[in-house]
């Protein structure tokens, strides 16, 4: 019986799962904060507490995400691309394209039938290409990300942002609010702008269905709908989209996937 932990330290959220024979025993998500080391330790403690296991019960741990280097107790580090691919392959073996909307950037991954990465694209090093743009505007609108999605769904007339910059977008959102534009139309405008960037990335690596969307951004059903509208196809969404890379890391730690 192999138990392993996968930890994904993202720029905004840290995620972890414990698996036993490829089944998830426990999972946990928290904000990364400024010290990734603290976040990693807190996640492991919480995973062990929830599953009722002890340190010795865990065979191996793998870390991924932008803070992977800070997870001192992991025996293995793996790129977030490879982990996401492996996680998607476990949840949707038929998937050939995966969209991962993280806080820092969005990625599109082309998958082989065995869960390998055959091609990929990443948005530019700019907050407007990832979920951070949503976080920034959600902060202006004083809603959390779930509230942001609900708000956007009510929009009748999404705004069009003048620039692709998240900082200028924030100013523009504040100006539009003072002009009487609703939060719903602003939130939907953010979704549309982000969906446009994601869709052009998907076209660059060529869409092959079935296509999955994951990462924290996929928690917003209205963003998923906006991406679907841009791509003109349906998207599969895992039940816990933000945990996919952590799951992939746990599978890699268990050494049970293809090399």
């Amino acid at each position: 019986m192999t138990r392993s932990i996968g930890i994904d330290i993202g720029s905004s959220y840290s995620k972890g799962v414990i698996i036993e024979n490829l089944e998830v025993l426990a999972w946990h998500v928290l904000t990364s904060g400024s010290d990734y080391r603290v976040a990693a330790g807190a996640i492991r403690a919480e995973l062990l507490r929830e599953s009722g296991l002890r340190d010795d019960d865990i065979a191996r741990t793998a870390a991924t995400g932008c803070g992977a280097e800070t997870v001192g107790f992991a025996q293995r580090k793996a790129s977030d691309m490879v982990c996401t691919a492996r996680g998607i392959n476990r949840l949707f073996p038929q998937a050939r394209t995966a969209i991962d909307v993280g806080s820092q950037s969005s990625r599109v991954i082309k998958l082989s039938p065995d869960g390998g990465v055959t091609n990929f694209g990443v948005t530019e090093k700019c907050a407007a290409g990832g979920g951070r743009f949503m976080e920034v505007i959600a902060n202006v609108l004083r809603v959390d990300l779930a509230g942001f999605g609900t708000l956007a769904a009510k929009s009748k007339n999404p705004v069009t942002f003048g620039t692709g910059c998240a900082v200028f977008g924030e100013t523009e959102a504040i100006t539009r609010i003072s002009e009487g534009i609703t939060g719903a139309d602003i939130a939907a405008g953010v979704n549309r702008a982000l969906a446009g960037k994601i869709a052009s990335l998907v076209r660059k690596v060529r869409l092959e269905e079935p296509c999955v969307i994951c990462g924290g951004g996929a928690l917003s059903t209205s963003l998923v709908k906006a991406v679907e509208a841009e791509l003109g196809c349906g998207l599969l969404v895992p039940p816990q989209p933000q945990l996919v890379a952590a799951l992939g890391a746990a599978i890699i730690a268990a050494g049970s996937g293809a090399p």
Partner: protein
């Protein structure tokens, strides 16, 4: 901000006022204008010609003509520095590089798409570091070395500087790194039109002495800074207005200024060329 410059027939400044623009549609131009008139002890009817410029130039109901900020900046810079061939204007929402030939604009590049290439970069990171924007330059000048800030996006740089600080880097060295990063990006923009001396730096960021030094290092040449770097656009507009009068006079034409309406802007007018 809304800036008003009133000049006489020899381009001497009679009155200079900087006032708020106001959040709602830049409606305060009339108030700033009234203050400028009062300071010179003039009445609106004493003014022969009024040129409005800037992003809000269409919202100045009492102006006779609108001219783009690029042309006005070029004219204003050339009047202060007759040898100027290049002007770099860095503000909170854009950065522009102008090529100037004898006071006329001959080319320009502009960035208003990405905050990381404008003064907003320093504004946002100053807030993240907990220091006042006005102090940024002086803090940068105290640096003993520059800590590179690698994020290309303002939002990510915000996180990066806090992480650098918690890693024990000195505040002044981080701030110097921020100036260096911005100067590098603006230098790259400016090189697209070419850098010919004399080079003049204007806009709000030109008041930051640390930025002036960073720009000199990034561009490899001396940088001239006007005493009032925020006023070159309004000054240029005043000079262009005076030139319009002089030309009309020389050609024996009478100017027919519009009836002056010193009220708030209530509609968005159409631009005249």
């Amino acid at each position: 901000m809304t800036k008003v410059v009133i000049t006489d027939e020899r381009d001497n400044c009679l009155s200079v006022v900087k006032g708020p623009t106001g959040a709602e549609h830049r409606r305060l131009a009339n108030e700033v204008m009234q203050r400028a008139l009062a300071r010179a002890d003039l009445h609106i009817d004493d003014i022969s010609y009024i040129v409005a410029t800037g992003y809000g130039r269409l919202n100045v109901p009492f102006a006779d003509r609108q001219i783009t900020e690029l042309s006005c900046h070029a004219r204003g810079v050339a009047s202060l520095f007759p040898g100027a061939r290049t002007a770099i204007d860095i503000g909170g929402q854009d950065a522009k590089c102008l090529k100037i030939d004898r006071g006329r604009l001959t080319g320009f590049v502009m960035n208003d798409k990405c905050a990381a290439g404008t003064g907003r970069f320093l504004e946002v990171t100053a807030a993240a570091l907990g220091i006042r924007l006005d102090d940024m330059g002086n803090v940068a000048l105290k640096a003993t070395r520059k800590v590179p800030v690698s994020s290309l996006c303002t939002i990510f740089a915000q996180q990066e500087v806090v992480a650098l600080l918690s890693r024990g880097e000195k505040l002044e060295n981080i701030v110097a790194g921020l100036h260096d990063a911005l100067a590098g990006r603006i230098g790259a923009l400016a090189r697209r039109v070419g850098l010919d001396p004399d080079l003049v730096l204007t806009g709000g960021v030109a008041m930051n002495r640390g930025m002036a030094r960073a720009m000199e290092q990034a561009l490899g040449c001396a940088v001239l800074i006007p005493a009032e770097p925020l006023l070159t656009g309004a000054l240029g507009a005043a000079i262009l207005a005076r030139e319009t009068c002089t030309r009309a006079l020389a050609e024996g034409q009478t100017l027919h200024p519009r009836p002056r309406r010193m009220e708030e802007a209530t509609f968005f007018g159409t631009e005249e060329q």
